[in-house]
Assembly symmetry: C2
């Protein structure tokens, strides 16, 4: 059954049963409460993870103890697997649950050994890494070319389904703010501005898009557009669990 769960990740899905069994031998299932730390930044990295349910934030710590959320991991994604190819890897981020979570922890050396037998999987992995590289580059120019409002607008757009008028922020606003590299106060103000302009309405964590057109315009001043869906992989994922 561990094997069945492994298969939920596109990467493991490609492996033969034989290979999966080998991986499973050194893999363990871990259950985490809300707020638990899975690993810390700078810690030696011997394992990587597959999130089965819950939410996990990956974050960097600044010198003053302030943190910057780099990514919010959703179920069926693997993370920290790219470290496997470094000499003496340490985690470049910390990982902490936002909700109670269940993960599978995989031994990296073991997995790497097995990878050597499956060029296909290598290619899959490289595709994945390539994807992430792209994503990070976008992130960087988002940060240096765009205003906070652009980033928020862009984020909200990606979260809203093109048809549905309303959706839930599945993450505490503070965390979202950090993810978007703004202070919580600023985030709050931006939301208020957008509300006053009638672009959207927010009640708690429920967001209702009022004027998608204009939201797009605000975001597009940026360049959100170039992550075409054409060249992204499809990660089959169950819907995320709604937050209180």
């Amino acid at each position: 059954m561990l094997i069945d769960d492994l298969k939920k990740s596109f990467m493991f899905a490609r492996l033969s049963d034989n290979q999966l069994e080998r991986v499973a031998q050194h893999a363990v299932r871990i259950t985490l409460d809300e707020g638990e730390l899975l690993f810390q930044q700078h810690e030696p990295a011997g394992r990587f993870y597959l999130l089965l349910r819950g939410q996990i934030k990956l974050f960097r710590l600044g010198p003053n103890g302030n943190e910057k959320v780099i990514e919010i991991v959703t179920p069926c994604s693997t993370f920290a697997e790219a470290l496997m190819f470094l000499e003496r890897p340490t985690y470049p981020v910390g990982a902490q649950t936002l909700q109670a979570a269940e993960v599978i922890s995989v031994d990296a050396a073991d997995f790497a050994r097995m990878l050597r037998e499956s060029v296909d999987t290598c290619f899959m992995l490289m595709g994945d890494m390539s994807q992430r590289l792209r994503g990070l580059i976008r992130e960087i120019d988002d940060l240096s070319l765009n205003s906070a409002t652009c980033r928020v607008a862009g984020y909200l757009l990606t979260k809203s389904s093109p048809d549905g008028a309303t959706f839930e922020l599945e993450v505490p606003k503070q965390t979202l703010a950090s993810r978007l590299s703004v202070q919580p106060e600023t985030f709050s103000r931006i939301i208020r501005n957008l509300s006053e302009q009638g672009v959207l309405a927010v009640r708690g964590s429920r967001v209702e898009i009022g004027d998608r057109e204009q939201l797009q315009q605000l975001a597009n001043v940026c360049g959100q557009t170039d992550v075409s869906l054409a060249d992204t992989f499809h990660y089959p994922c169950p819907p995320a669990k709604p937050r209180g």
Copy 2:
């Protein structure tokens, strides 16, 4: 002789002569004048490149025509090779020479085909990509956690050899500014501040470190420290050609 040049890159160096010959068949040498565009952002990406000499900047374009330099490529590095694993790749950045340059252009599909025969090279490549991922993450928290002064200080530190007191900025200051995500004016002012504090002295593109200690302090408020040299690959490279 094309093969000899290919070997200057750590990635190609790993290939067998047989494999190299195959790659070389679909590889071409390209000579570029200063300011020439090698490829544009969004262009379909069928080839990747190895820089032999000169300098190339990789940049993103904002909506107002303003550009953000993502990376300044130095000789013996390959770039855009990570795209090879995407479905229908387009370049996520543009590439333009800063100095007259010579590159080898490699057919990506061809190289990928050959890669399938060398898991070793796959691993090498994955290590490289892993490296880059790390670098980009650092870049992101540099942007969101640190001030412009920190970034400039950090950059200057990485460019100075630990012993030598002076070195050359090998790149126009505007470009450097963009690379560090500050306006040229701000860059200029930061340099002036540092000069006034006696931390360094700049004459044209020649930089002299006055107080390395303090420069380090300014940069370290940041977290420059965590890119330990232990886990970076060694790219054997000839010294860059001095500017001006």
